[in-house]
Symmetry: C2
Subunit: 399 residues, 2 copies
């Protein structure tokens, strides 16, 4: 009988369909509040807290990732959070309500920080983002990061640049005080959004190979370095079809896909995970922010000779005159003319363009074809020349 070991959260809003009872109906035994202390791979056993052992023929590692806390004093106090899973979200909301929080600080400026800033503003908290760099979401081109900054400011989020956290202390006006290298920020709650690292202790202790990224090495069937042990999701690497490298890119949609691939292989219906191109998106207030593929730096590191160009236009035909501005950046290889990556930011139409360009990256086609690709034109949805066409044609001339 297969076991599922781990947490199952009964969400008050029933966001999660699979309760323990539902699992068990399908013949899967669920062990909640159970911790795995170690894997004895040569014996095919896992060791639970308290000494119990379970034997296995096949083992799936879905140990995920952990949000990182900075190595500074004071982070173990109440009111300090990271956000990785649903329970974290529930706990943050509960803490804000129970402690009548008025001020919030988010440390970090990636897309978890962005999404949290909107959530906190929606709860009417005075919200600040503290970041060591100049602009938020640094994976995007500075012109796009600048648009994100503008959107934050417009919606009452303070962006405190060039500040690195040094310590957390008790506050005087508020519950806590974040000490940075530049000053002191009083706040009732602090959310560290500094990224995640894969949970690989069990894997490493069991002798499984980890990659350069630090995550568990897998093959396209999700096998680890041991045939009978699979790894999926935020604890393992994924193959990037554009950089042709195994990378660590922990995102929920890939975890879903890898889980299904492992399941199929275990059940005897072979399937390979065809890899990723790095498509990702988030919404920040009224802005869609999306990217796919590689930026210039990643492209260079992957042996390409990249060129990039940003264009501005309208997500719909200009005759519709909805007054929205969409920015689209393409990155391509000078040698082959192939698309390597794309970024888009705007009130609408950014994600849809990035998804089309992700499909183009998937197949590895060049700017020459993208510039003349057949897309479903109607003035409500694009110009007769979509911004994708224009961007591809302009960049092609620059290669």
């Amino acid at each position: 009988m297969p076991y599922y070991i781990g947490d199952v959260i009964k969400d008050p809003k029933k966001l999660i369909a699979r309760t323990p009872e539902k699992f068990e109906e399908t013949g899967i035994k669920v062990r909640l509040n159970t911790h795995v202390e170690g894997i004895e791979a040569d014996r095919g056993e896992i060791l639970l807290t308290g000494g119990e052992r379970l034997s296995y023929d096949v083992l799936v590692m879905g140990t995920g990732a952990e949000a990182t806390l900075p190595d500074i004093p004071g982070t173990m106090q109440d009111g300090i959070f990271t956000l990785k899973n649903l329970r974290d979200g529930i706990n943050i909301r509960k803490y804000i309500k129970e402690n009548d929080c008025r001020k919030a600080v988010i440390v970090g400026a990636g897309f978890i920080a962005m999404e949290m800033s909107e959530a906190l503003r929606n709860l009417d908290l005075e919200t600040s983002i503290v970041y060591r760099g100049e602009l938020p979401v640094k994976k995007w081109d500075p012109v796009f990061s600048g648009m994100v900054l503008e959107e934050l400011t417009k919606n009452g989020v303070s962006f405190i640049a060039h500040n690195s956290p040094v310590a957390v202390e008790k506050g005087s006006d508020a519950r806590l005080c974040l000490i940075t290298d530049k000053g002191r920020i009083e706040t009732d709650i602090i959310i560290f959004a500094l990224g995640v690292k894969p949970n690989t202790r069990l894997a490493r202790e069991a002798g499984l190979t980890t990659g350069k990224s630090g995550a568990i090495e897998v093959d396209p069937s999700q096998h680890t370095s041991r045939e009978e042990i699979f790894a999926v999701g935020d604890c393992c690497e994924s193959y990037n079809r554009v950089s042709k490298k195994w990378v660590y890119i922990p995102l929920g949609d890939m975890a879903n896909k890898q889980g299904r691939v492992a399941g199929r292989n275990i059940a005897g219906y072979p399937l390979v995970f065809p890899g990723v191109v790095g498509a990702q998106s988030f919404k920040i207030f009224d802005l869609e922010v999306a990217m796919t593929g590689l930026d210039e730096k990643m492209a260079e590191q992957s042996g390409y000779s990249p060129a990039g160009n940003v264009i501005w236009g309208s997500p719909v035909a200009r005759s519709m005159n909805i007054g929205q501005k969409l920015g689209l950046k393409l990155i391509a290889d000078r040698g082959s003319g192939k698309l390597l990556g794309a970024q888009a930011v705007g009130q609408s139409g950014a994600v849809s363009r990035i998804n089309v360009l992700s499909a183009c990256l998937w197949s590895g086609i060049g700017l020459d074809e993208i510039g003349y690709m057949d897309l479903a034109y109607s003035p409500y949805f694009s110009g007769a020349w979509d911004m994708i066409h224009t961007a591809a044609q302009i960049l092609e001339k620059k290669l």
Copy 2:
């Protein structure tokens, strides 16, 4: 010196950027209100009304298409229109205003009919669509046509099915009366939206080859059967990459692309038009309606063994609960597993899916890859499994 011969409409709203003056600034001589009576291809001359001749080294045919009127009595009266170009639109609006029209009838149920019905309702006209078939937009699956019908009805457009026009007479309550094989419909204005046919008289008389579709045959560089004569847009055929056939698919975005391809080739910068996949879309009130590639019937005619399946879901993550329903149909080949076509209808997210699937069709990839393709996931824009993934996986099982 190059000549442009044809109409240039000075639109009151300046939708058209190229006025005759702008043309001439670029060194192109514009001849308005000038009709070409014939092409003497062997002499490299065109013959204008009145007997003037112009010689050419290179000639571009952009003769477009003509909206068809049915061969019934009474269609030459005032108040009867077709809609092909901007001037038609301006004339229709003017006629409605000057004659204080209250009732409108549209004959036909393709996407021009759909768009016109919305425009007429926006002008507060009592609007009916008269159609010989059962459901509107018959290129789409009946479940989707049914959704379109529901949207028409919800917005006060009457859909009069199974009626074919027989004659137009003077009306008694209203200005006109459309006589059908089933009855009489009083109306102030009638718009025939029965499709277009390519304007090929000049081409045929000049000895240029036309294809099975009736439109001018071209090669991928837009040459006609004579090297020095090019044809572009609604008067010529396009290569469909999915059916691998030359087809007649008169759409504005393709005309733009073909025009640029011909221009590049004439100017000595060779370029081929890479073909179409049949992507198209329209908006009808609050509904996005889109398709790409082939339907089952076209697929069979192209030698495939197609299977299709419709799924229903949400354009965004279910946890966002926006209450919108999106239908997505995929059609694939049983033999190869390749995607052949797709259709989508919903309040949002239909066109964006169809564009991604157009990019998939462009490269000719299979359902196996589409089911696991990397798209930019965020709950605001899709589930962790996008409907594209789900639709591909379900159809793959059915092949």
